[in-house]
């Protein structure tokens, strides 16, 4: 039996007939009868994408300068994230993986909270309910089950105008937890949109190593609809997600959306993507850049002019300057803070260790004071 070949190979542009696209890479609008675009703030989404790309590039720079321990770049996935997140209503709950900086932005989370995490000041530590945006989840796929449970809670609360969206990647579809989440959400008819950003890479492994069937087709086996959308098309991501959220809120059960996109950066700042992908492939995907096509569209239709683009660019630079300054000013937590918030109440073992370590540290202070 032949084992399928594995290694460098150029990915095809799988824009098959069933893939929903409302804006071509050239910036041409395509109408789709099932996915109207009423209410879409295209200029707003352009601005969002430019700003989060700028946050992303600044974070990479900060990591290169030693100010962040790590950064997971969203470069190339701006449309998938902004389009889907702008389709959410304020009461909807989002469960991200760890690359959803664009979703975080749309949920009103200060990007500094993300930098804190990648700097090593916190493990996240924002209030999920305040932003309806759960903490980043690094173990691949775990959050899909949390999203399912949260959606089951909405059902019990009778929350008819609420839905949940779970973000994960192509690699995550191989995790058992994701299959369990599909099964649970399906049998309980949970109000949940599974939003898979197929960015073509699980670090170095291609989707062909995760699944023989296209990802969106997996939903059929679990008994709910799956849709593939052009993940570099912010309008399509917005329209399809909005439609899916509407369906799940109306009690039709879960929906899987596969946003077919491309990770233009490395997996993280510790990764070297040149070891597993060809430069020509990256170049091909640059022609499908999610931001450029919106810019072309806005310019061509006259919905935005040069002044608008300049203003957004200036705003992005200002945001980066501010974020950099705030990041550099982040204080390290005091050492004894590591003992805080592990338990709600007292825990005799931890309490004793905290007291011992405090005394140990105090010993240095006394010695220092004597010098």
């Amino acid at each position: 039996m032949a084992i399928p070949p594995y290694g460098h190979h150029e990915k095809e542009w799988h824009l098959t007939a069933e893939t929903i696209q409302l804006l071509t890479p050239e910036g041409e609008r395509v109408d789709h009868p099932e996915y109207p675009l009423d209410g879409a703030d295209v200029r707003g989404m352009y601005r969002d994408m430019v700003l989060v790309r700028r946050i992303d590039s600044e974070a990479i720079a900060l990591q290169r300068q030693g100010e962040l321990g790590l950064w997971a770049s969203l470069l190339g996935q701006e449309a998938a994230q902004i389009g889907s997140a702008r389709a959410l209503s304020p009461k909807d709950m989002a469960f991200p993986s760890y690359r959803e900086h664009g979703v975080a932005w749309c949920r009103g989370l200060d990007p500094l909270r993300l930098l804190e995490m990648f700097r090593g000041v916190t493990h996240g530590a924002w209030d999920p309910e305040e932003h309806k945006f759960h903490l980043y989840t690094i173990v691949i796929g775990d959050q899909t089950l949390h999203a399912t449970g949260y959606a089951m809670g909405i059902q019990r609360d009778g929350g008819e105008d609420e839905a949940v969206i779970a973000y994960f990647g192509d690699g995550a579809t191989s995790q058992g937890d994701v299959s369990e989440a599909f099964a649970w959400a399906s049998v309980f008819n949970a109000p949940l949109v599974f939003f898979c950003q197929n960015n073509q890479f699980a670090i170095s492994a291609p989707p062909e190593r995760q699944s023989r069937a296209p990802i969106y087709q997996r939903a059929a086996g679990f008994g709910f609809p799956g849709i593939r959308v052009d993940g570099n098309d912010v309008l399509a991501c917005y329209a399809v997600t909005r439609q899916a959220l509407r369906a799940v809120r109306e009690g039709e059960g879960p929906v899987l959306i596969e946003a077919y996109t491309y990770r233009m950066g490395a997996h993280t700042t510790t990764d070297d993507a040149t070891r597993y992908r060809l430069a020509s492939e990256l170049e091909a995907w640059r022609l499908r850049d999610p931001i450029e096509r919106v810019r072309s569209y806005l310019a061509r239709t006259g919905e935005a002019d040069g002044a608008f683009f300049e203003q957004v660019a200036a705003e992005a630079d200002e945001l980066a300057v501010k974020l950099r300054a705030e990041c550099l000013a982040l204080p390290d937590p005091p050492p004894l803070a590591l003992f805080d918030h592990v338990y709600a109440g007292h825990h005799a073992v931890l309490d004793a260790e905290r007291a011992q370590y405090a005394a140990y540290l105090a010993g240095f202070e006394e010695k220092g004071a004597g010098r």
Binding site: H123, A183, D340, A348
Partner: protein, 327 residues
């Protein structure tokens, strides 16, 4: 007072928790219509409905993962893992998510999830139905780990576990499910011994014998047998495995000067070693003998026909007690 089994006592405790707080839910495999394979949840779905007592798909990671999501939404899920050996598929959700969420959110998120696990051997079961995985969870910061040993305490402890704000791994001694004792079903949990305290179940003067779960009864039997031999054993039911109640332990050992710890879990890397180290640090000048451990061997849990050799019993415990008098 009512004379009931440990299984029934847990059932009554769960019932009171469901009555006390409408956010309490029960979820697990076969917990609803069947009432659980040990009948601990018998009748609860009938009385509280399918939305509060949920028969889940057969997926342990799914049970804990969705319980986390429900807790994020404000619910208080009580999950049943059907047998000890089936908890491992859920370990990632327990260790990486459930245990850490309060800490990583800097106290902004509480996950009051209770995971009930029937544990231990002695019932002649097939593989994976007789294990004692408590140390994995006791080793994990962010979890509270407890084990009940008798009906009255089980009734109180399950209610205390559910009412708390931290995740609790709640071990139930499956071979003692049918032990009967008097339980005051009107006693409010607030009157019970706090969940993180050990209790002296048999006072004694010569040796401190520490255990939890199924072996507490065996230790009490050992105390009776030793009395005929002229030795007075103090038996302590640890109840809480994380945190350990070292105050109660050291107060006893400082008086007796001898300490034996017994559990079904393997001795190697087990809770007995942790206790031995702490007792040695804190009671060094009181000790007449090293702290001895009696437990499972460094082998996978054996087939049922040989489990009596693997499990600590009265004789192996008394042998260790005797050895503490030879130093």
């Amino acid at each position: 007072m009512t004379r009931i089994t440990l299984s029934r006592a847990l059932n009554e405790g769960l019932r009171r928790a469901l009555e006390a707080d409408e956010k309490v839910m029960i979820m697990g495999e076969d917990v609803g219509r069947l009432g659980g394979v040990f009948r601990v949840t018998d009748g609860l779905q009938k009385d509280f409905g399918e939305h509060r007592v949920v028969d889940t798909p057969l997926a342990e990671s799914g049970i804990i993962g969705t319980a986390i999501g429900l807790a994020l939404r404000g619910y208080r899920p009580v999950c049943e893992i059907q047998f000890d050996g089936f908890v491992y598929p859920a370990t990632d959700q327990i260790v990486s998510q459930l245990a850490k969420m309060r800490s990583r959110s800097r106290g902004r998120v509480a996950l009051p999830v209770v995971i009930r696990i029937p544990f231990g051997g002695g019932i002649g079961a097939v593989e994976h139905h007789s294990e004692s995985p408590e140390i994995f969870f006791a080793h994990t910061a962010g979890l509270r780990v407890v084990a009940c040993a008798d009906p009255a305490d089980a009734f109180a402890m399950i209610q205390l576990a559910i009412a708390g704000e931290d995740p609790v791994i709640f071990f139930e001694p499956k071979r003692r499910y049918w032990d009967k004792a008097e339980v005051d079903l009107t006693a409010p949990p607030s009157d019970a011994l706090p969940l993180d305290k050990a209790r002296v179940v048999q006072p004694g003067d010569d040796v401190t014998l520490l255990s939890y779960g199924p072996l507490v009864r065996t230790c009490l039997e050992a105390a009776i047998a030793a009395r005929e031999d002229g030795k007075s054993i103090e038996v302590i039911d640890l109840r809480s495995l994380s945190p350990l109640d070292m105050e109660t332990i050291t107060a006893s050992v400082a008086r007796t000067g001898r300490c034996v710890v017994t559990h079904e879990a393997p001795v190697y890397g087990g809770l007995g070693g942790e206790i031995a180290a702490r007792v040695t640090e804190q009671c060094f000048y009181h000790l007449e003998a090293p702290v001895l451990r009696v437990g499972g061997f460094a082998v996978p849990y054996p087939p049922a026909r040989t489990e009596d050799h693997y499990l600590p019993d009265l004789d192996r415990i008394l042998d260790a007690v005797d050895r503490t008098f030879t130093y």
